[in-house]
Symmetry: D2
Subunit: 382 residues, 4 copies
């Protein structure tokens, strides 16, 4: 596919994700870290308008000045933005108007791509990858929105992500020595993975499978959530303040564990890979098993031998810059660098990640208490 | 009109209020004290189902068990209720499904009214008055929802409530002595106004007009919001913590005061009656004028000579029970009595009150910081 | 006693209250509504310095400019005040320095009183009454400070306030008609009780005894704290948010109810009058008994027949101005008027009230959730 | 000095630090991260009692059971602990009683040390290092307590830490390659620095001097605190929510920058090394300079050439376990490991660090917003 085809394909995927929604589902923002589906659809269009059309398409006419204000996310450089916590109160523009906006942007991006300018193509590629990131957020945010409805609506009864199982087992051993990590510059990548460089690792072993619901249930039944010994101090505070007793979306109904899935509420499947786990829970589970989480570098060194793509895997690495990391000038520089504090790196990809979006050098990151993504646990030892 | 006609008429009015909304506008709950329009439409139907159809219509089949849970407001007696703060996150049932629910309830209430049972008629009358209260809330909540959108959408360009003016002026004097207050039992009334009884009043004077925007602007320009001397202590804390500088919905644009109205944003009209005033502001204004707010009893004694119905008028009376007040048994007893703390009484009615809903003995009540209703200021002296 | 003798006597009483403290006990402010004993001692001296010595004693030299800033309470007129929430972090001036300050003020007040000026004498009388109010707060704040120490220190083993019993029983009946309330101007009084005026009361009955621990335990054991039917809506929220299960200072130890008293921890005495009750609890108890709290006017009308002085008695009257109430000009006007919102009136006096300080027209006031004063319950009916 | 002499010497130092305090200064806890001096003195004694005397001294009689409860800090293993936020409300035991407790513990430790048992000596060594850590906290907490008093008391007019200057200048270059980091096992060390291991570093340059007040003032005057471009996203939120405009303890008085020091308030000395800087500020300053903070490994590799010991130096490394890190079993295992999340490593030592306490492999750690320690900025580049 050429870039225009890829662009169109990816843009259609976002809309396909939303095709199962009612108009009402597009509106709410139940918690700060979730955005309304309407907002995602508009914001990913605004990104193309702001960074491409306004600057590079001659005589481009902005669709609506208000949209710049409403659908900017965190780019301080670009201007005032609407408060993150208030995205769920903005009922106008309507969903239909947001789709009109998308069409308008798409039509003009087609025109722009005819210019065949390399810098433009690179920025469109960035916008496509940005849109794919929002596709994953769309899915996890839709799950969150439906999941806080006490009547547990079904998103799509044909999706069975929460029932995925492992295909491998056992541990792999890697020997002490120098390894190379970071992106080698071939194909698209984000700035946070740039700067391929050497690191020195001690010998380590890494599991070929992710922790299952059955294994996690053992931890729960062994009193894992009520024994401080397994928890980081801030994790223990998190467990107690929020009265956490199980992964997100787990509900005990008639004394049996159920989980809310994209296909509605169902019994917890013991064979399936556990998901919606915070870093705190992953670390406590590892401590209970007398093992540990891998670092992001161990993970990357081992990645060519791992089957992955079902859950984002928490590592015990903080999200920090690689040697020689440089923020781009201007608003694009706000993409990654300014988040490099208080977050932990996740590697791999999940069932909700857009196809071909991730790679072995990809660095995802979330706060240690966040668990509405499809996250899971891979253990390491030594 | 007979009771069936009244019922139908009132129910249609609720829907007419919503006829100008987009589906998206029915969903959000931007702050705790505002409810989504969808919720109001469903809740006022649930009231009829819960207190009439379930108990009094033979073989009635509940429309949907989930709705009892989702659309109960504060009737602890009736069962678990969904958290007040989470009404804005419930996207299903959809708006269309809520209208189906209304139709189902309406159809069965018609059947019930054919029974011609006096107790049923009285409960239907209560339900009609309850629905009218929610019509006013619908209007003020819609204004609030649209008003927190930075692009200030228009609800109805033909409504000009915020431009209403006084028709009288001057002060009336009432002499010291015994007066009677409270409802005399003729026609519908709420339990909080029952028990007509004597009170003793000192001589007082009461204004025949409400404070206008021009008068209120004088207070602002005289530094009213920055001089603690005019404010109750908790009012002064409220002003400072919330950085209050003007009535709700006022915005200074290009150095000129504007107000958000049902018809969109417009310049403040100096001749119009000021509105969206908290009790704290009303009390501070009165202090600045070296006057005071009337008590609810002074107001009621004077009411036969007052033109009213444009703004809810803050009184300096706390919302407390009348002598011999008795809560009804069961859930209906939760209607009024349990709110008799920390709220101040408002008398009169507003531009948004349903026709024929209020009367001179009617006791409305809000917390002293609340101002999203169409509230105003009438002064008294002596 | 002449005014100089009264002044000296009252000032010594404050110091006697503190004579049982260690230096450390003078320092903390565990919650906002409690002040450190050191602060009370300094603030009541500052009151005399600010309102008397600075204005009326020729050539008076302010003891320390910093003290004006540190020990002003809420008089906005007088200047910047230190944040209320930070009184417990101010370790200097030391306790010894505060006593020096008291001596300095006392010495100069003696000089001032030699001037024999009526206005001065009136202000000194106000200062003396103000000091007495702080004596009660000193005692209740000391109890609170010691009571949040998990080792429950004893303040004075010879005080047995919490074991006081009723001396009367039965109900008194008062007939419908006009009564007079408010202070008649004879002797000292606060501005909030001024303006003797007529009110009209329905017939009512009022209990001659206060509720005992035994009676209150019945309410607890009948599930009073877990049945929403008895509670005001905001009271019910208060109970649940704070997990209230008994009066303040009650602790269940080895399955038996104990209470922390001025003399340390001891078993709840069933014969004693219940204390440390919030308005919410008093109202819920009355509801459970199918009675009610008296209004402050019923209480005042009946007061000549009541034995009182053991507990502050919650009334069902909001703290609001009497007819013709006028705030004094200047800082003294901040004494009472600005608190007339969201508080309920208590009548009588408590075991901790200074001798001769209260009277039948005295209006005390607290928020409905506050219960660290020695508060109790008297019921009314009809 | 033998271990008994060292023990006695270190214990005396804690008391010497407090010798300048008034009794009142020992009591408050103005914010959660600060503890009352009285608590530090008791807690460091409790540490010896709990981990040594109770287990290893035959027939040892616990001084007071209540103290275990009151003066445990965060050792969940050992039993219930008093809430961290309430340490400032505990007035008893008094300061004098805490000194008695110290004497009692000291006397028994002397007896214990006569046993000449190696494991005991190791635990005493840990207790001594623990006491030294609390000496630094004592000093910084005393500064914090005095610093929130608006009259700015002097701790010791002979201390001039805040005026310390650099003795070196210029940058050092280190070449790419394998380095070794971590403690080599010789002498005392904490478990978090164990496991000497290889790391691979790119070429880097590191400054020989710390940033001065003059340099930091340039950043302030260039609008550093109001330009989001320099800040991490959470740093920018921290600046805005807390209205941060300068380092902690800086006050603009009569339009000139002053700083509160151990010797009272004084003008900011431009030649002195800047201190009381959060990680967010350090990172923003580095960004403004177009440089960066060193990693903890760069710092350690360079340490043999650096003059240090004046300020704790923020690194851009998150506090995470070294390879093969193992928590000790039992309560001692809670010392370090459970804090390995959301904190950044600081290297070096400060003017307030006990002599001989730190070393080049020492890993200190704080949250990125914390700045009441004597922290400073060293820059790196490449």
């Amino acid at each position: 596919m050429n870039i225009t085809e890829i662009y169109n394909h990816v843009r259609r995927q976002s809309e396909e994700i939303c095709s199962l929604l009612n108009t009402e589902d597009y509106v709410p923002q139940p918690v700060n870290f979730v955005s309304p589906p309407k907002w995602h659809l508009a914001h990913s269009s605004w990104f193309f308008e702001e960074f491409l059309l306004k600057k590079h398409l001659p005589d481009y006419k902005i669709y609506d000045e208000d949209f710049c204000f409403l659908f900017n996310s965190y780019y301080n450089t670009v201007g005032n933005r609407s408060f993150r916590a208030e995205r769920g109160h903005i009922t106008r523009p309507t969903v239909a108007q947001v789709y009109d906006y998308r069409n308008y942007v798409d039509m003009h991006i087609q025109l722009l791509l005819q210019l065949k300018d390399l810098q433009i193509h690179e920025l469109v590629e960035l916008g496509i990858n940005h849109e794919q990131q929002h596709q994953e957020l769309l899915l996890t945010d839709i799950k969150y929105i439906l999941g806080c409805n006490p009547i547990f609506p079904v998103y799509d009864e044909n999706i069975n992500w929460e029932n995925q199982q492992n295909s491998d087992s056992g541990f792999l051993t890697f020997s002490e020595g120098i390894y190379e990590v970071g992106h080698n510059g071939d194909g698209f990548s984000f700035d946070n993975e740039h700067g391929r460089h050497k690191i020195y690792l001690e010998e380590f072993e890494i599991s070929q499978s992710l922790i299952t619901n059955a294994e996690y249930l053992e931890f729960i039944e062994a009193g894992g959530y009520s024994n401080f010994n397994y928890w980081l101090d801030e994790g223990w505070a998190w467990v107690n303040e929020n009265e956490i007793k199980a992964p997100l979306y787990w509900h005990k109904i008639d004394n049996e564990w159920h989980m809310f899935t994209m296909a509605g509420i169902q019994k917890v499947d013991p064979e399936a890979i556990v998901t919606h786990i915070s870093f705190y829970e992953a670390a406590a589970f590892a401590e209970w098993k007398d093992m540990r989480l891998p670092t992001e570098f161990e993970w990357e060194a081992a990645s060519f031998k791992l089957d992955w793509g079902k859950r984002w895997e928490w590592t015990n690495s903080a999200y920090l810059p690689y040697p020689n990391f440089k923020k781009a000038k201007g608003a694009i520089g706000e993409y990654n660098g300014k988040f490099m504090i208080n977050q932990m790196v996740l590697r791999g990809a999940s069932c909700a990640t857009a196809k071909h979006h991730s790679r072995s050098t990809y660095r995802n990151f979330f706060h240690p208490n966040e668990r509405w993504q499809f996250t899971g646990i891979r253990l390491a030892k030594k």
